[in-house]
Amino acid sequence: MSQILVNAPERARTGEIITIKVLIRHRMESGHRRDRVGAPIPRNIIHSFSAQLAGEDVFRMDLFPGIAANPFLEFKALARVSGTLLLRWTDDDGGRHEHAVQIEVT
C-alpha cells in the first residue's frame, strides 16, 4: 500500500537550500476516543519522524496526538553532497517505516 508522497528535488546545486515536502498516510488515532460500546480506542500515532541526507541528520520531529490524520510535513535541508534522502518514521503499532529518494547534488 502506498503510504507516502514525497516532493523533493531530484537535482540541487552544492550549497543550495532545498525544500522537502512529505505526506504520510496514517490515521493518527489519538487514544482519546471510544468505540461504539464505550471501550477506549488505543492510541496509534506516528510519534517520531526523521530525515537523513547522505548519511547526515537533517530533520527530526516528535509528533503528538493533536496532529491530524495523514500528516503533512515540510522542512528544508542544505544540499552538500549527492546521496540518499532517507525518511524514517515509527508509529505506536511498532511499525518502523522508511522511504528513500535519491538527490543528486552538482
Binding site: M1, S2, Q3, V6, L23, M28
Partner: protein, 270 residues
C-alpha cells in the same frame, strides 16, 4: 365502421394521446429541472478557502492522491486466478480517460443504474469472480479515486436518456422533496441559498464532481454517498444506505445538474 374498426380507431387515438403524454413527460420535467440548475455553475472548490484550494492543486499536499496511488497498485493486482483490472482494461490513463465523467450510467447487461463504485464491484463479481468490495472500504475508495482521477479536468457528461430517465426523475423528485425534522429539501440550501453563509460555512451549489474527495472534517477520503449521509443527518432526515436506490438516483440527478463542470477527483473539501 365496424365495431372492431371503431375499437382500433379509438385505440389509435388513445395511443397517440399516450405518446403525446409520454413526449410531454420527457419535456416538461426537463424544463422544471432547469429551475434546479444554477444559472452560473460553480464547482465546490470555489467555495473553499485559499488554503484548501492550494492543497487540492498541490500534487505533494493533496492527501487524496495517497488513495489514488493505492488504486493504481490495485489496478495492477490480479484477483486470484483471474486477470487484474489492467488485464482487460490495460493502461488506465487511456482506457479509463473520461469514463468517470459519464457515470452513473445504465449497465447494459442488467439494465440497472450503476455509479462508479457499483461498476467496479460489478466488474469484480462478473469478470474477476471476486467478492464485491464493501462500500466505503479503503480498497473501493482507492480504486474509484484512481479511476475517476483519469478523468480529471474532463467535463461531467452523463446521459439521462432511455432507462436512466426513470432514475433521473426519481433523483429530481428527491432533490426537490422536503425532508427531515428541519423540513428542508436539497434545493433549499444548494439552489436557493448557494453562496450564502450557513453558520461559519459557505453553502456550495452541491455538485459531486470532486468525489471521492478528501474532506478535512473526515480526515480521510470519502464517497459521494458518505457526503449525502452527512446532508441527510444535517436536516435530521433518514440516512439511506451506501449504494441505495435513493442515493443512486440523487447521484444521477446531481451529475446531470453538474454536466459541464470538470471532474476534480480526488478533490479536497473542508
Amino acid at each position: 365502421m365496424s365495431d372492431a374498426g371503431r375499437g382500433r380507431a379509438i385505440g389509435l387515438v388513445a395511443l397517440c394521446l399516450l405518446a403525446g403524454a409520454v413526449a410531454a413527460m420527457h419535456v416538461a420535467p426537463h424544463q422544471d429541472a432547469a429551475a434546479l440548475v444554477p444559472a452560473d455553475k460553480r464547482s465546490g472548490i470555489e467555495y473553499q478557502s485559499e488554503h484548501t484550494r492550494a492543497m487540492q492543486d498541490d500534487p505533494s499536499a493533496n492527501p487524496g492522491l495517497l488513495w489514488a496511488s493505492e488504486g493504481a497498485e490495485l489496478w495492477q493486482a490480479a484477483a486470484g486466478d483471474r486477470p487484474a483490472c489492467a488485464g482487460c482494461h490495460g493502461e488506465a490513463g487511456t482506457s479509463m480517460r473520461g469514463v468517470a465523467a459519464r457515470y452513473p450510467a445504465i449497465d447494459g447487461m442488467s439494465g440497472r443504474l450503476l455509479n462508479l463504485e457499483g461498476r467496479i464491484n460489478t466488474c469484480r463479481t462478473r469478470h474477476q469472480h471476486a467478492a464485491p468490495l464493501a462500500y466505503e472500504s479503503e480498497e473501493l475508495l482507492a480504486l474509484s479515486a484512481f479511476v475517476a482521477q483519469q478523468s480529471r479536468g474532463i467535463p461531467v457528461a452523463v446521459s439521462v436518456d432511455g432507462a436512466a430517465w426513470a432514475w433521473f426523475e426519481r433523483g429530481r423528485k428527491f432533490y426537490a422533496m422536503r425532508q427531515g425534522q428541519l423540513n428542508l429539501a436539497c434545493r433549499h440550501c444548494h439552489q436557493l441559498n448557494a453562496g450564502r453563509m450557513l453558520r461559519g460555512e459557505r453553502v456550495s451549489q452541491g455538485h459531486g464532481n470532486g468525489y471521492p474527495a478528501y474532506r478535512l472534517e473526515w480526515q480521510t477520503l470519502g464517497s459521494l454517498h458518505r457526503r449525502f449521509k452527512a446532508c441527510s443527518a444535517g436536516v435530521r432526515a433518514q440516512m439511506y444506505d451506501y449504494g441505495s436506490d435513493e442515493y443512486l438516483a440523487l447521484e444521477l440527478f446531481l451529475a446531470w445538474r453538474a454536466n459541464g463542470l470538470p471532474v476534480e477527483t480526488p478533490a479536497v473539501r473542508r
